[in-house]
Symmetry: C2
């Protein structure tokens, strides 16, 4: 098959977008399209200009034998604001308020297209760090972690509250839940996380921080280094929060269960994004 | 900004790929690029030819006021074979065998790039049906469901084994686990699935079928119509399996715990795919 330039740039766009943060050797494209590397380099240049001037992400090229081309999704401040605004408006529905001051969020984490965007948002902030794995807690953190892991090209390790035969040998810790003050257990399969990994922790909801603090303790057992913490939503105005260094997309404030009221606003994400740029 | 054709087709490729199974009005592109609809239609034609002749997927166009362009990921038999082959070789590692004849699969479902491919595989088979939601069981089905839901533009509903305050009001059933014969509970939040939905059930591992049979019963409570069942791996040679109509990517056979042996082969996916074409 003869590949015209228009065809080549469509196929290269598809290949790079479907493999974010993966280095693709130029020879891969040269062989696939039966073209000289110099033509492929010109194609890459068109992609680079288009991606970077339109807020899709960065195209990084490296020379030499192991060289190639790599796509990093990168959202602009404007796009991040749109995604967070839409989450804020979804979350503002008063019907979401549950007993105990929790918010119903299963439909948010069960929205794969929104999670895809959330993955790109967190990748934009964290992909320049060396991160080996994204760690989360079952159940609602999993789709977030999967989306972040996809955008960053990292495996996902899922911590459970129970021990299952399908996990193989595990490491567990006990921790005190920040909200209920009950003692709970966290379990992580040994095989899902290499000792000494650099990890990004993600979760859906941050209140007192008991669960994430538990994850941090469990990470110590794996000699892992916690590089960052990202949450979809944080509750503001919590005294004695157990963790203080995190990135949140949305902030929930002034929860009044009696009046069925609360307010939803941006979290600290845009501040972190702008500091990164 | 002036958008040359090369730029437009890159940006249209990006937009369509990031929103599979979403109808994009031609006016969206016409306005974004400041071009006549006729030019946009020519761009779409280039995308269509390239996508369809290179196994990326289908580009469907519709005319009229609500008309537009829609991308459906569609894997070729050759690509599906490659993905399944690579899963087979990952799963063949004898170290995966766990007590009770289970296989360790957390790293497989924790591989977001592989899950992305798995999502496209199942979408290729099921996207032509009218499906309103992808339903799965916590924990290991979630990344699969999220990937399938993304490719098909469907929300994901996650069934849990426990009831949590964050789920709001729920519907639950009891079922007998096919493997352990124990009575267990399944819980689904009422708000995550509309009554009367057409659902696709996905899960990681199919043995006796007790869990999926439980899901089917729970779906009855939601008056849902089960359109299909997709699993990553099935164990072959199970007598009295509770379900018989499913699509599996991989089949595990001849598990011999004493000798630490088993064989891994293709499931029935390719047969279904070829029947579809």
């Amino acid at each position: 098959m003869k590949y015209k330039r228009s065809m080549r740039i469509i196929l290269m766009t598809e290949h790079l977008l479907s493999k974010p943060n993966v280095n693709i050797p130029l020879t891969y494209f040269a062989e696939r399209f039966g073209q000289a590397k110099s033509s492929i380099s010109e194609d890459v240049q068109i992609l680079k200009e288009t991606f970077e001037s339109n807020g899709i992400g960065l195209i990084k090229t490296s020379a030499g034998a192991s060289g190639g081309v790599l796509f990093q999704p990168e959202v602009s401040v404007a796009e991040a604001r749109l995604v967070i605004d839409s989450m804020c408006s979804m979350l503002s529905d008063k019907e979401r308020l549950l007993p105990g001051g929790y918010l119903f969020m299963s439909d948010i984490v069960g929205n794969p297209s929104l999670m895809h965007d959330v993955g790109r948002l967190f990748a934009t902030v964290y992909q320049h760090e060396r991160i080996d794995a994204v760690v989360t807690i079952a159940t609602k953190g999993i789709t977030i972690a999967n989306a972040v892991g996809y955008a960053m090209n990292c495996p996902v390790a899922v911590i459970r509250k129970d021990n299952k035969v399908t996990e193989g040998s595990t490491v567990s810790i006990n921790y005190v839940s920040g909200s209920t003050r009950k003692i709970e257990t966290m379990v992580l399969s040994k095989r899902t996380l290499k000792e000494g990994s650099n990890v990004l922790i993600v979760d859906d909801f941050l209140r007192a921080g008991g669960s994430i603090n538990g994850v941090i303790h469990l990470m110590n057992e794996f000699k892992a280094n916690v590089v960052g913490i990202g949450v979809l939503a944080e509750v503001k105005g919590i005294e004695n929060r157990l963790i203080d260094n995190y990135v949140s997309l949305v902030a929930i404030e002034d929860i009044d269960e009696f009046r069925q009221q609360f307010t939803v606003d941006h979290g600290n994400y845009l501040t972190h994004l702008q500091a990164n740029k």
